[in-house]
C-alpha cells in the first residue's frame, strides 16, 4: 500500500506527461476541424475556379427554399430516392443519371444503374466517386445527408412534394434544373390531362370513405397531410381517419366504429399474389367483423401510391376505377394497363374482390 501511495507523486507527473503527449498528437486530428472551417472560406475561390472551367452556374431555389448554385448544363446526376429516379426516367433523361439508390426499381432499368446505398443511409464516398455535378434529394432523405453533400461542394436540389399538385410542380422543376424544360411541360400536361379526365368522370359523386392500410399489424394508416391522402381525394375517396400525424397507429375498434366503405391495401412485393393478400386479411378474426371486408370491398394498389412520382397518377386512376365501379367499366382499366410504356408492373390495380 505504501508503494501505491508513494507513487501518487509519480502519477501526477505521469498525467502531466500524458496530457502533453496527447496535446502533441491532437493537432493532427484537430486540423480536420480547421479544414472544415477553412473549407467554407476557401470555397469561394475554389468554386469560382470550378465555375469558370465548367462554363456557368445558375442560382435556383429548391423545394425547401434553399438557394442552390447548379451548372446550367447538368451532365451527371445522382438520385437519392426512388420517386426522383422514376421522374428522371419519365422525362427521358436517364442518360444523365449516373447513380441511384438500392431502392430504385421503377422502371426496371433503374436497377442497373450504379447504387449509392439506401435513401436513408447513402454512402457519401460512393456519391463522390460518381463525380456528379448535381444530386437530387427529397423528403425521405435526411437533412444531415443533404448538408454533408453540400459541404463536399456538390450542389443538392431538393423537392418535397406533399400533394399531387406539388408532385406535378416538382416534375417541371426537376425538368428545368436538368435543362429539359419542354419534356417537363409535355409530361406534366399529359398527367394533368389524365387527372382532368378523371375529375370529369367523378364530378358530383360523393366521396367514398376508405381505410388506407399502410401496415396491417399493428394497424397503421395515413394522416391527413400525407400526399396519399391527397391522392385518395383525387380518386374520389377520403380516409376515415383524420389525424395530424403522418403515419398514425389506430385500433381496430376505431375502424369498426367508423365503418369504411372500402379497405385499400398496398401490394407487398414479397412475391405473394395480391388475392392471397386479401385472403390472408379475411382470415384474420377481427378484420372479418368489418362490413367492407364482409362485402369483399378490398382494393389492392401498387406500391407506386407511396411514391410522389409520375406513376402515382396511374395509381390514382386505377384506384378511382376500383372505388367507383358504377362509373368506370373494367374494360377501360385493362386497356390503360397496356398503354403504360415506361412504367413497371408495380402500379397495377390487381384485386378488386367482390
Amino acid at each position: 500500500m505504501g508503494m501505491i501511495l508513494a507513487s501518487r507523486v509519480q502519477l501526477k507527473l505521469l498525467s502531466a506527461a500524458m496530457v502533453a503527449l496527447i496535446t502533441c498528437v491532437m493537432p493532427t486530428f484537430a486540423r480536420v476541424g480547421d479544414i472544415f472551417n477553412s473549407r467554407q472560406s476557401a470555397a469561394g475561390p475554389q468554386d469560382s475556379r470550378k465555375a469558370t472551367s465548367q462554363a456557368d452556374t445558375k442560382i435556383v431555389t429548391d423545394g425547401t427554399g434553399r438557394s442552390v448554385a447548379i451548372p446550367i448544363h447538368v451532365q451527371r446526376v445522382v438520385s437519392l430516392a426512388p420517386n426522383l429516379t422514376e421522374t428522371v426516367y419519365a422525362l427521358g433523361l436517364e442518360d444523365k443519371l449516373v447513380g441511384d439508390t438500392t431502392y430504385c426499381d421503377t422502371p426496371a432499368a433503374a436497377k442497373e444503374k450504379p447504387h449509392i446505398g439506401a435513401p436513408l443511409t447513402p454512402s457519401l464516398e460512393a456519391i463522390v466517386a460518381l463525380h456528379p455535378d448535381l444530386v437530387l434529394a427529397t423528403a425521405i432523405n435526411r437533412w444531415e445527408t443533404v448538408e454533408a453533400i453540400t459541404k463536399l461542394g456538390i450542389p443538392v436540389y431538393t423537392v418535397e412534394p406533399h400533394t399531387v399538385r406539388d408532385m406535378l410542380q416538382s416534375i417541371s422543376s426537376l425538368a428545368d434544373v436538368m435543362g429539359a424544360h419542354e419534356q417537363g411541360v409535355a409530361l406534366v400536361a399529359k398527367l394533368q390531362g389524365t387527372l382532368d379526365n378523371l375529375q370529369t368522370g367523378l364530378r358530383d359523386k360523393p366521396l367514398v370513405h376508405v381505410l388506407f392500410v399502410v401496415w396491417e399489424d399493428p394497424l397503421i394508416t395515413i394522416g391527413q397531410n400525407t400526399f396519399i391522402a391527397d391522392a385518395l381525394r383525387w380518386s374520389g375517396a377520403e380516409s376515415v381517419i383524420i389525424s395530424k400525424q403522418d403515419w398514425p397507429q389506430i385500433s381496430m375498434e376505431e375502424v369498426l366504429r367508423l365503418e369504411p366503405d372500402y379497405i385499400v391495401l398496398t401490394s407487398n412485393h414479397s412475391g405473394t399474389d395480391d388475392t392471397d393478400q386479401v385472403r390472408d386479411l379475411r382470415a384474420r378474426g377481427v378484420w372479418n367483423q368489418i362490413e367492407a371486408v364482409k362485402l369483399g370491398r378490398i382494393v389492392v394498389v401498387g406500391e407506386e401510391v407511396t411514391r410522389p412520382a409520375p406513376g402515382l397518377v396511374e395509381v390514382i386512376v386505377q384506384l378511382a376505377h376500383g372505388l367507383h365501379p358504377e362509373i368506370f367499366g373494367t374494360e377501360q382499366k385493362h386497356s390503360r394497363l397496356e398503354n403504360r410504356g415506361w412504367e413497371s408492373d408495380a402500379g397495377r390495380l390487381v384485386a378488386c374482390v367482390r
Binding site: 500500500m1 508503494m3 501505491i4 501511495l5 507513487s7 501518487r8 509519480q10 502519477l11 501526477k12 507527473l13 505521469l14 498525467s15 506527461a17 500524458m18 496530457v19 496527447i22 496535446t23 498528437v25 491532437m26 493532427t28 486530428f29 484537430a30 486540423r31 480536420v32 476541424g33 480547421d34 479544414i35 472544415f36 472551417n37 477553412s38 476557401a42 475554389q46 470550378k50 438500392t102 447504387h115 449509392i116 446505398g117 439506401a118 436513408l120 443511409t121 447513402p122 454512402s123 457519401l124 464516398e125 460512393a126 463522390v128 466517386a129 463525380h131 423528403a139 425521405i140 435526411r142 437533412w143 444531415e144 448538408e147 454533408a148 459541404k151 463536399l152 461542394g153 400525424q245 403522418d246
Partner: protein, 338 residues
C-alpha cells in the same frame, strides 16, 4: 504485486497507440471511393503542409471531408465512452456499470433532443444540454440507488435501468412531436451515428476530452484503494467524497460529449474496460489510459465495419457495436465463470 512504473504505463499506452495508428491508416484506405495508398499518403502530406490547391478536389473531399473527420470523431467518442465506463465501474464497484446501463446516455440523449427542439442552431448547445442531461441522470440515479445512507450496488443498477427506460419513453414522446424529416435523422442519431456533423469545432471537444480523462486519471490510485471498499479507503486517507465528485462529473461530461456528437452508442463503455482488465490487470492507473485508447480502437474498427459490410449503404455504428459487442461480452463472461 509488481510495481507499476510510469515507464510501464507509457510503454503499454504507446503500444496501444501504435495499434490505433495502424488501424487509422488501414481505415483511411477503405471506402467506396477508390484511392491508392500512394494517393492517400500524398494527399495527407499535402494537407499537413497546407497545400490545398495542389491536390485533386475529390481526394480532398474524401480524405479531409469524409474519412478523417469520421475517424477523429470515432476516436473521441470511443475514448470518452470507455473512460466514462471505467470510471462508473470503479465508483459503483459494479462490473455491469456503464453509461448506457445507468441511463446516463439516455439522459444525455434527452438533453440533446431538447436542445435541438429549443435552439436548433446554437453552437455548443447540444453538448451543454447533453452534459446537463447526463449529470442530472447520474444525480437522480445516485440518489435513488442509496439505501440507508449507503450506496447499494443492486439498487443503483435497478435505478439506472428504470431511469434509462423512463428517459427513452420521454424521448419517444418528444419524437412524435417532431416533424417527419427531423425524426428520421433523430432516429438514426439515437442508434449511434458518426456521420452527422458535430456542429462544433472538434478541438473544443478534444480539449474537454483530455481534461476529463486527465482528471479521472489523477484519482486512479484513490480508485484502486476504493476497490476494497469506501470505508477502508477512508481509513487509508482517501478523500472519498472528493474522488467520487470528480469522477462523477468527469464521467458525465465524457458521456455527454460522446452522446451529443454521435448518439447513444452502447457496449463500448461496458466492454472495453473489461477487455483491458483482462489484458493488463485491474490497476486503475493503467486501466484509465488503456481504456481510453482501447475505446478509440474499438469505435474506429466498428465504424470502419459499419461503412463497409453493407456497402454501398451504411449501418449506424451503434448497431455495429451491439452486434459485435454482445457476443464478445457473453464469451468473456462465460470464460470468467469457468
Amino acid at each position: 504485486m509488481r510495481p507499476l512504473t510510469p515507464a510501464k504505463i507509457l510503454s503499454i499506452c504507446a503500444a496501444l497507440a501504435a495499434v490505433l495508428f495502424v488501424e487509422v491508416v488501414v481505415s483511411l484506405q477503405i471506402g467506396a471511393y477508390h484511392m491508392g495508398a500512394r494517393d492517400i499518403v500524398v494527399t495527407l502530406y499535402q494537407g499537413a503542409l497546407g497545400h490545398w490547391d495542389a491536390m485533386p478536389g475529390e481526394f480532398k473531399s474524401v480524405i479531409f471531408g469524409l474519412r478523417l473527420p469520421r475517424i477523429a470523431l470515432g476516436i473521441l467518442v470511443g475514448a470518452a465512452l470507455s473512460t466514462a465506463g471505467a470510471g462508473f465501474q470503479a465508483l459503483l464497484r459494479n462490473p455491469l456499470a456503464d453509461p448506457y446501463v445507468l441511463g446516463v446516455s439516455s439522459g444525455a440523449a434527452l438533453g440533446t433532443i431538447i436542445s435541438l427542439i429549443v435552439t436548433p442552431h446554437a453552437p455548443g448547445a447540444m453538448q451543454g444540454a447533453a452534459f446537463v442531461g447526463a449529470f442530472a441522470t447520474v444525480a437522480v440515479v445516485y440518489f435513488l440507488g442509496r439505501r440507508g445512507g449507503q450506496l447499494d450496488s443492486a439498487t443503483l443498477l435497478l435505478a439506472g435501468i428504470v431511469a434509462a427506460s423512463f428517459l427513452s419513453a420521454v424521448i419517444m414522446f418528444l419524437m412524435t412531436t417532431i416533424s417527419g424529416r427531423d425524426l428520421r435523422g433523430m432516429a438514426f442519431w439515437l442508434m449511434g451515428d458518426l456521420q452527422s456533423d458535430p456542429r462544433i469545432d472538434l478541438r473544443w471537444l478534444y480539449f474537454l476530452l483530455i481534461v476529463a480523462i486527465g482528471c479521472i486519471f489523477t484519482t486512479s490510485s484513490d480508485l484502486n484503494l476504493m476497490l476494497t471498499g469506501e470505508q477502508e479507503a477512508r481509513h487509508l486517507g482517501v478523500n472519498v467524497n472528493r474522488v467520487k465528485l470528480v469522477v462523477y462529473i468527469c464521467a458525465s461530461l465524457l458521456t455527454g460529449l460522446a452522446v451529443s456528437v454521435s448518439g447513444a452508442i452502447g457496449y463500448v463503455g461496458l466492454l472495453v474496460p473489461h477487455v483491458m482488465r483482462m489484458l493488463f490487470g485491474t490497476d486503475y492507473r493503467l486501466l484509465i489510459p488503456t481504456s481510453a485508447i482501447g475505446g478509440a480502437i474499438a469505435i474506429v474498427l466498428a465504424d470502419t465495419l459499419a461503412r463497409t459490410v453493407v456497402a454501398p449503404s451504411e449501418l449506424p455504428v451503434g448497431a455495429m457495436t451491439a452486434l459485435a459487442g454482445a457476443p464478445v461480452f457473453i464469451y468473456l463472461m462465460r470464460r470468467r465463470m469457468r
